[in-house]
């Protein structure tokens, strides 16, 4: 699969026709997706029409946009005009089709990218494995017996399988970073409030962030640059000035103070996940170790806030039509609906303290490295994980290292590390609020030094 950069360069120069790019993309999805189940909606006819329009623009000498002809797909919690937004859940299947595209979809299209479909996910975005009873599990492109991770499993798998070079997902507690790690692709969870969430189905309003997946830091940066900007349709979206990421990629890491998270982030880890952190640290010559204060408590608070908010969000449907819920998350939603307000308020109080404490860490450090997942991908249906002297329920604990980071709303790049095993595993590159360029500078440097590489099926 060609990168987004290569495709756009060729289409803009007129050496490659967008129509051919789309024809090749759709043929590849036809061939590969039946074994992966990443796509839940295909938009073949619309994509062909959009490709023809791009080619006509090029032929007429008009600027077709920086992402001209680049195929992309989005997690099925993004609105697509004319398509029902389901967020992986059958309870949403009878909603009216969306009247218009989500803001980020519109912005990618305005840059010349071509939407080819919607992607599978854990129902409601409540899960880390994309095991979906009603729409089928998304399988890991590197071994179909394994989970692709979740909840943006379709978004990560579509890139890792070489079906599309760019996708969009969402991350509440790790739903970009976990599947990026399991599928071996790059992902970005920007600062809370950086990218507009308008036109997407929420999960936990106080934590939800949207972001891209790609096979390189450069493609990731292009997707971010095309989607960034204020949006009055999302009251949380910031109008703060932003820095394009693409120019930052060539700046290297000179002057950046990089440290590795220790303490909570050191255990439990498989040998592969530990090796990934060590490989990244070695490549960056990051010898300093830093403890994020109260990371375990932050993870606990994120768990409580998520359970209570999600249970409340779906309370009326839980009353009226409980049998239509995803069986794998129905019990969790019911339990969450019973959470007393005092626990949620307490979690938010703690969050205020924790955000300040984490920001203080960034007084002396510019970037932090931490594992994305405690292990590489495991078999679909796994109930218990056992390694590093620990035995724990699989589904709630895959995000044990991502939850304390997203709870503070800071930006994180998910970076696939070149480890020696048969499966990918990734690390998080974490920066202070609004410092997405730092995350991408480090990710790009890891790529340049051969320590990071996307695992994309040829």
């Amino acid at each position: 699969m060609k990168s987004a950069v290569e495709i756009a360069r060729g289409v803009r120069a007129g050496t490659v026709r967008a129509a051919q790019v789309i024809a090749d993309t759709l043929a590849r999805i036809d061939a590969i997706d039946p074994g992966i189940n990443a796509f839940t909606v295909r938009l073949d006819a619309q994509a062909r029409r959009d490709a023809d329009a791009i080619d006509a623009s090029v032929a007429a000498g008009r600027d077709p946009g920086w992402l001209a002809g680049v195929p992309f797909a989005v997690k099925n919690l993004y609105d697509i005009a004319g398509v029902t937004t389901i967020a992986g859940a059958r309870i949403h299947a009878d909603r009216a089709p969306a009247a218009r595209d989500a803001t980020l979809v519109r912005r990618l299209k305005a840059s010349g990218a071509i939407l080819v479909g919607a992607l599978n996910m854990d129902a409601y975005a409540y899960g880390f494995t994309t095991e979906n009873t009603h729409y089928g599990a998304t399988r890991n492109p590197h071994d179909p017996r394994l989970t692709a991770g979740g909840s943006s499993g379709g978004s990560a798998a579509a890139v890792a399988a070489g079906m599309v070079p760019l996708t969009l997902g969402s991350d509440t507690n790790g739903s970009i970073r976990v599947p990026a790690s399991f599928c071996g692709v790059f992902g970005l969870r920007p600062t809370f409030g950086r990218l507009s969430r308008a036109g997407t189905l929420p999960f936990v309003h106080d934590l939800d962030v949207l972001g891209p997946f790609a096979a390189s830091a450069k493609d990731l940066a292009l997707a971010y640059d095309a989607t960034c900007g204020a949006d009055a349709d999302d009251p949380v979206c910031s109008d703060r000035a932003w820095t394009p990421l693409e120019p930052a990629l060539s700046q290297g890491i000179d002057g950046l103070r990089i440290a590795v998270c220790d303490g909570f982030f050191e255990h439990p880890l498989t040998a592969e996940a530990r090796e990934a952190v060590q490989t990244a640290a070695k490549a960056l010559a990051a010898e300093r170790r830093v403890a994020i204060p109260e990371a375990e408590r932050a993870r606990a608070a994120a768990f409580v806030l998520t359970a209570g908010t999600a249970g409340s969000l779906y309370l009326s449907d839980l009353r009226a039509r409980p049998d239509d819920f995803e069986p794998l998350s129905r019990d969790r939603l019911l339990a969450g609906a019973l959470v007393p307000a005092a626990w949620i308020h307490r979690a938010q109080q703690f969050r205020r303290w924790y955000c300040a404490a984490l920001e203080a860490v960034f007084d002396s450090v510019d970037a932090l490295i931490a594992p994305s997942t405690p292990c590489p991908a495991f078999a679909l249906g796994t109930e218990t994980l056992s390694f590093d002297g620990m035995s724990m329920p699989a589904r709630p604990n895959v995000g044990i290292f991502t939850q304390p980071i997203s709870f503070a709303g800071v930006p994180v790049a998910a970076v696939p590390i070149a480890v020696g095993g048969p499966l990918p595993v990734g690390v998080q590159v974490i920066a202070a609020p609004w410092c997405e360029p730092v995350c991408l500078r480090v990710a790009a440097e890891l790529e340049r030094r051969g320590a990071a590489q996307a695992w994309v099926r040829s």
């Binding site: 600062t191 809370f192 409030g193 950086r194 309003h205 106080d206 009251p235 949380v236 979206c237 910031s238 703060r240 109260e294 375990e296 408590r297 606990a300 608070a301 768990f303 409580v304 359970a307 209570g308 309370l315 839980l318 009353r319 409980p322 129905r330 019990d331 969790r332 019911l334 339990a335 969450g336 609906a337 019973l338 959470v339 626990w343 308020h345 307490r346 979690a347 938010q348 109080q349 703690f350 969050r351 205020r352 303290w353 955000c355 300040a356 056992s386 002297g389 620990m390 035995s391 724990m392 329920p393 709630p396 604990n397 709303g409 609020p433 609004w434």
Partner: protein
């Protein structure tokens, strides 16, 4: 092999709370799901207790959720 701290057992008080709160909220919990809901609620309760163990130093204000206040 150690169990993860959130691999919680179901306390009878938890079960009683789940049953009572579900009735108040008019939530029907079928018999086959009662144990699962109880187990998940016990896990949330355990983690809530961990959060509660730290007295917040930031006063009574909850966390900022608007982007501007995180700047």
């Amino acid at each position: 092999m150690a169990q993860a701290p959130d691999d919680a057992a179901i306390d009878p008080e938890i079960s009683a709370y789940v049953d009572a709160a579900a009735r108040v909220l008019r939530l029907r919990i079928p018999a086959g799901q009662r144990e699962g809901v109880g187990r998940h609620f016990a896990r949330i309760a355990l983690l809530a207790r961990l959060v509660d163990a730290q007295a917040p130093a930031g006063g009574d204000m909850p966390a900022p959720v608007s982007a501007g206040s995180q700047a």
